[in-house]
C-alpha cells in the first residue's frame, strides 16, 4: 500500500487549509510537484497526510536543493525524527532533487484552526475528537 493510499489519497484543495493554500500559492511547477509528493506522507498517528495536517509550511527548490519548513502539533512528538526522515526520503528520490534540508519552525504556531472540515471529518471518523 502506498503512502497516498494509506492517507486516503492526495489532498485536493478542499482538504487544504487556507494557510496551506496561501503557502502553496507561489510554488513553481516543480515545487508544486514536491508538495504533491509530500501530500502522500501519512501522519504516523492519524490517517491524514502531513500536508492535510498543515504541518508543511513551505517548500522551496533551488538548483536541485530543496528546503522544507515544517512544524509539529506537539513539540514532544515521539515521531519527530521519523517524520523528518520521511520528508527527506520522499523528496530525495524525485528527479531533479539532489539534497533536502528540513527545518522545524514554530512561527506561526500550529493550531487546529489550520485543519479543514473534510480533514476534521476524517479525524472524527477515526475516533479523534477536536
Amino acid at each position: 500500500m502506498s503512502a497516498k493510499q494509506r492517507t486516503g489519497g492526495a489532498s485536493g484543495p478542499s482538504h487544504e487549509s487556507e494557510f496551506v493554500q496561501r503557502r502553496r500559492a507561489g510554488a513553481s511547477t516543480f515545487e508544486e510537484q514536491l508538495w504533491t509528493e509530500l501530500d502522500g506522507i501519512p501522519d504516523p498517528h492519524i490517517p491524514v497526510s502531513l500536508v492535510e495536517m498543515a504541518m508543511v509550511y513551505d517548500v522551496t527548490a533551488d538548483d536541485g536543493h530543496v528546503d522544507v519548513e515544517m512544524s509539529f502539533p506537539c513539540m514532544g512528538c515521539p515521531a519527530y525524527d521519523m517524520i523528518k526522515n520521511d520528508v527527506r526520503s520522499c523528496l530525495r528520490v524525485v528527479d531533479g532533487v539532489d539534497s533536502v534540508d528540513v527545518d522545524v519552525v514554530w512561527d506561526p504556531v500550529w493550531s487546529k484552526d489550520m485543519l479543514t472540515e473534510p480533514v476534521r471529518e476524517k479525524m472524527r471518523n477515526s475516533g479523534i475528537s477536536l
Binding site: M75, D107, P108
Partner: protein, 254 residues
C-alpha cells in the same frame, strides 16, 4: 540567528538543563503516582519537557554550544539545573513540592525572553506549560489538605532553590544585564515577584505555612550566575547515564 550576549546563553542553558532534569524526574515518577491520572499527567509532562529541550538545544547549538556536550557529554557539575532537582528521595508529596515550583520558575524565565525569533517556540511551549502548571496547583491544593506539614517542610527547601534559578533580587530593571541587552522584557526582580505572589496566593487559605521560606534567597554574593544556584552539587551519576542514554545507545536513530 544573531549572537546572544554570554549571559543570555547561560540563562537559556539553565532553563534547558532544568527542563532536561525535570523531564527525567517526571519520567522516573510517572508510575509512582497515587492515581492513574497522576501517572498519565506525569508521563505527558515528561514527553513535553523533553520536546522543549530538543528545541532549546537547537537554539543553544546555534549560539556555539556543542551538541554532544548539551546531550550529556559533561560532568554533573556542568549542568545548570535547579539545585532541588539534583535528587528527589522522598515520597509523592515531596516530589510534587519539588517539581511544581521549578517548572513554574523555568516557565516564567522563558516567558520573559523577548526575541522575535523565539516567540513562536515559546508560545508553543506555553501551551504545554499551561496544563503543567494548572495540574501542579490543583495537586498542591489537595496535598495542602492531606499532608500540610510535609508540604511546608519541602517547600521551605524547594522555593528558595527555584528562586535561585530565577536569580537574586538585586537584578532589577536597572541592574539586570539581560533586560539591558533587550534579551528579556522582565527583570529577575520582576520574575521573582510574579513567582512569590503566585505561591503566597495559592497557599493563603490553606494549612500550609510559608513562614519558613527564605523569600530573599539567593544571597547575591554566594550565587553562581552560571549554574544559577548557591553551593555545589549536581545530579547523580546514574541520572547522567540515563540522560546520555548510554544503555540504549544501540537503538538510537542516526
Amino acid at each position: 540567528m544573531s549572537e546572544w550576549p554570554a549571559a543570555a546563553v547561560d540563562y537559556v542553558q539553565a532553563i534547558t538543563d532544568t527542563k532536561l532534569v525535570l523531564g527525567h524526574r517526571y519520567a522516573q515518577w510517572s508510575l509512582a503516582g497515587p492515581s492513574l491520572e497522576d501517572d498519565i499527567g506525569g508521563s505527558s509532562a515528561a514527553q513535553e519537557e523533553v520536546g522543549h529541550v530538543r528545541q532549546l538545544f537547537r537554539k543553544l547549538e546555534s549560539q556555539g554550544r556543542d551538541g554532544d556536550w548539551l546531550r550529556g557529554d559533561r560532568d554533573p557539575e556542568e549542568f545548570a539545573n535547579a539545585s532541588c532537582l539534583d535528587a528527589i528521595d522522598g515520597d509523592w508529596t515531596e516530589y510534587m513540592a519539588t517539581i511544581a515550583p521549578v517548572d513554574r520558575a523555568a516557565w516564567y524565565m522563558l516567558d520573559a525572553v523577548d526575541r522575535d525569533d523565539m516567540d513562536g517556540m515559546i508560545t508553543k511551549m506555553g501551551e504545554d506549560e499551561y496544563f503543567h502548571l494548572e495540574y501542579h496547583d490543583a495537586r498542591l491544593e489537595t496535598l495542602a489538605d492531606e499532608s500540610p506539614e510535609k508540604l511546608r517542610s519541602t517547600l521551605a527547601e524547594t522555593l528558595p532553590s527555584a528562586l535561585a534559578l530565577i536569580g537574586p533580587e538585586n537584578l532589577d530593571d536597572d541592574a539586570d544585564p539581560l533586560v539591558d541587552a533587550g534579551f528579556t522584557s522582565q527583570s529577575v526582580e520582576g520574575i521573582r515577584e510574579r513567582f512569590v505572589d503566585h505561591y503566597r496566593d495559592l497557599f493563603a487559605d490553606t494549612d500550609v505555612s510559608l513562614e519558613d521560606v527564605d523569600w530573599d534567597a539567593p544571597d547575591a554574593d554566594a550565587w553562581d550566575e552560571t549554574r544559577r544556584r548557591v553551593g555545589g552539587g549536581g545530579i547523580r551519576k546514574e541520572d547522567l547515564v540515563q540522560i546520555r542514554g548510554e544503555r540504549n545507545a544501540e537503538f538510537a536513530i542516526e
